[in-house]
Symmetry: C2
Subunit: 240 residues, 2 copies
Amino acid sequence: MSEAIRISEIFGPTIQGEGALIGEPTVFVRTGGCDYRCSWCDSLHAVNAEYRATWAPMPPAEVMAEVAHLSGDRPLMVTLSGGNPAIQPLGPLIEMGKAQGYRFAMETQGSVARDWFASLDMLVLSPKPPSSGMTVDWPVFEDCVTAAGTAPAVLKIVIFDEADYLWAQDVAARYPALPLYLQPGNHTPPPPEDDSAVVDQDGIDDRMRWLVDRVVADGWFAAKVLPQLHVMLWGNKRGV
Amino acid sequence: MSEAIRISEIFGPTIQGEGALIGEPTVFVRTGGCDYRCSWCDSLHAVNAEYRATWAPMPPAEVMAEVAHLSGDRPLMVTLSGGNPAIQPLGPLIEMGKAQGYRFAMETQGSVARDWFASLDMLVLSPKPPSSGMTVDWPVFEDCVTAAGTAPAVLKIVIFDEADYLWAQDVAARYPALPLYLQPGNHTPPPPEDDSAVVDQDGIDDRMRWLVDRVVADGWFAAKVLPQLHVMLWGNKRGV
């Protein structure tokens, strides 16, 4: 019997709204619990301990049953998100899903390395910039990159300001072989219990345009710049 | 001396706003002239014969000099667009640019096949759906796919309505091996001499959400759905 996974929510299919797989239909499996407390976290309902009671312990077979139900039994990309999904025992889930034809992407900050990263179809490493208030443990982050092995891995860095931007340049210089995505931050993330909170999309769009200008001015052409498309289309609404 | 290319505009760097390379910094080389007259064309200044006088004949070296000037001599992805760039003699330009480290993507409807398609780093084939008023010549389209050889090629299909959507499903079935991008159409394209024309972004966003819902309802998970990000960020403005 595989260990249960703490599940905050399973939803979709919808399109992936950001990063390397933007536009691709996917079911999101959001795990509960996180070792970080980013100042601008947009998923506090899957992070803060006071919501722990809402995180259902589910064995892998039960998670896959729900994914298959949502997808009408048609294999697609499953996106493991959180919280930090790396603190959950996801190896057996990935193994089981892949046997059924599903593929798996995972988004994590890179603070916990697992050998099952190598089974992923896409590992998105999102080291958190200075504006988050977090500090990256680089040796552990390096362990995460190593754990991916030959699995496709990319960097995605959220940018709020100039300090974040300069920090992202430093990170990119450490990992020149990893495809890099820069993403303007949402300074109006939803409170954990209110997904109807209004987004300042104009402000986010300003940041997006600034980021494009900044990358172009620096001739930083290896950086791809993408917004959170789901926020542009659906605001802070959950489940899309 | 290589044959001159009819150039409508060269601009950038900015990010690619749509399709497989969305978010990637690029310089656009827009050629003048087109064998199609799509009802909703958003680039009539590079299509209609009355603008022919604005299309400068430029030898490849002059085009590359301008691209290098704009990019600060840093190689990046060059996007060949139009009009229909396939009716221009672009082989020598691609050869020259690649020798300088530049990469080349091209967007074309697939109505004219060229052997130099095989030199591209990305061939985006955009067969035009019923709403365009055009009719695809499928044997020629097949020649385009064949001409790409081992070069990466993708399908991008603009969708305005249900008829376009059903047509796209048929096209996808013809080319299951090609990655597929669906893109909601802009029903408020700019008149050729007015790039300040207001875009009905709400209407386009509605179409985008409908398209996501449609793809999800059909379990069509091989289709990626992406909007025109540049229109969301900059409206009909040219040069971005």
